[in-house]
Amino acid sequence: MSIGIERVEYVLHLADNALILGQRLGEWCGHGPVLEQDIAMTNIALDYIGRARMLYQYAAGICSPESTEDQLAFMRNEWEYRNLLLVERPNGDFAHTVARQFFLEAFQMDYFKALQHSGDATLSAIAEKSIKETAYHFKWASEWVIRLGDGTEISHHRMQEAVDALWPFTGELFCEAPCESWMRKSFDCPDPAAMRSGWSARLQSVFAAAGLEIPTGNWMQEGGKTGRHTEHMGYILAEMQYMQRAYPGMEW
């Protein structure tokens, strides 16, 4: 099974990103700034939960015969989750949610295109579906970065503040974890560092339209990909895992 460990970890990294971000977006449900945006955020959350399911099902299949998508999603310990620190950041105000989405989607735009050409057929198929979703999510996030950046003095200030606050969590996007490097060598999966130029170009164009400044700080927080999370993660799991932990082994 040793040959599968890196692959499982890699799939879990992608699955955990999707689950935790879907979970965060789900927190907005019923509380959005306007009904249309409540629907938009629920839509994006649904895409992410759907993607998480496909990835967990794949991981469960290569893990062990007893493993299930829900077991992987709900019954692991905090240090076993492999998601980016960025996706576990709290929703904050709408600007923080938009900035978090924008940073990630700007990265995923090229990432899934590259993953589509990997030698892992299942990941390639999931990537193909994700490309379409990402194009819509990126459009949604960019439009809001521009609206808020350009809108009023208050919204501009809040948007810039959100960008600045989340900036230290963007570095991790481009750090290659051991499982990523293994998957790159074995299955031609993308090198996250190679996404930087496309990501930066998207930032430049959207931030210019929004009148926002790209932060210059280069001290970055990382650890999510290897299981070292922020304090927020424990609360996310306490809530998300509550049913499975309180009533283990039951069908729902």
Partner: protein, 320 residues
Amino acid sequence: MDTENMQKAMPTLSFEERIEKDEKIEARDWMPEEYRRTLIRQISQHAHSEIVGMLPEGNWVTRAPSLKRKAILLAKIQDEAGHGLYLYAACETLGVSRDDLLRELHSGKAKYSSIFNYPALTWADMGAIGWLVDGAAIMNQIPLCRTSYGPYVRAMVRICKEESFHQRQGYEIMLTLSRGTEVQRNMAQDALNRWWWPSLMMFGPGDSDSVHSLQNLRWKIKRFSNDELRQRFVDMTVPQADLLGLKIPDPRLCWNPERNHYDFGPIDWDEFWNVVKGNGPCNRERLSDRVAAYENGAWVRDAAIAHAQKQRSKQVPAAS
């Protein structure tokens, strides 16, 4: 509004005759002011119920017990937000803006379905709400697909299709629980115990006490009386509870072969009116959550408007 209405071409048939002939009244048609007001009240109350109804279920999105249930619940709540949108849009055809309607909701002047002032305490409540609350809502709403106002009819046709899907999903949650472990069956029974009576109250006061009923029946805004619909709901739901192996919390519930209906015990109207008046377990929370979402989102809406205006003013000189 009256002057504006009078300026519109008078139809060949009188309003009452058109209603009598089951013709649909459209937004541009002449209508009595009271008919318009009644529709605005009823449709906006329904719209508000959809968006307030997102809260007790939204409460369980982050704790749904499986990924599949999480996705289904999210999709369901999204449908409800969509229903809110169609219904606000239907209201707008009657000359009132969504912002005006929301102001009335937030000030406490406009009502929403009282059922959402009860708390969703366990996962089984997601089942019970779908099964009973959406079930009762469908009973009320299916006749509205034949109501006299066109835009309302079109919104309701779509809404009813989705609601019946929600009801089946809710029942399926209950079915899974009832076939599960003892703790799951207890959870399901507890949810039924708490949601049964409030669901019966959803049909509104008994016919003898309903203020708006008679005129609404005459104008075909309503098609059946509150008590008729309530009876239909009880008759439909009792066998479903039997199939789940759950007990409806009414010692007086029994089949009456003479009436060919189930008899059921008296409803606690004191509780109903108290919840309507704001004394339910969650009235304050629900309203303050809605107000907070609206107020916290004000800067976002302002920004979107300001940005759109800037874009427009940039385009004007370029076009000239």
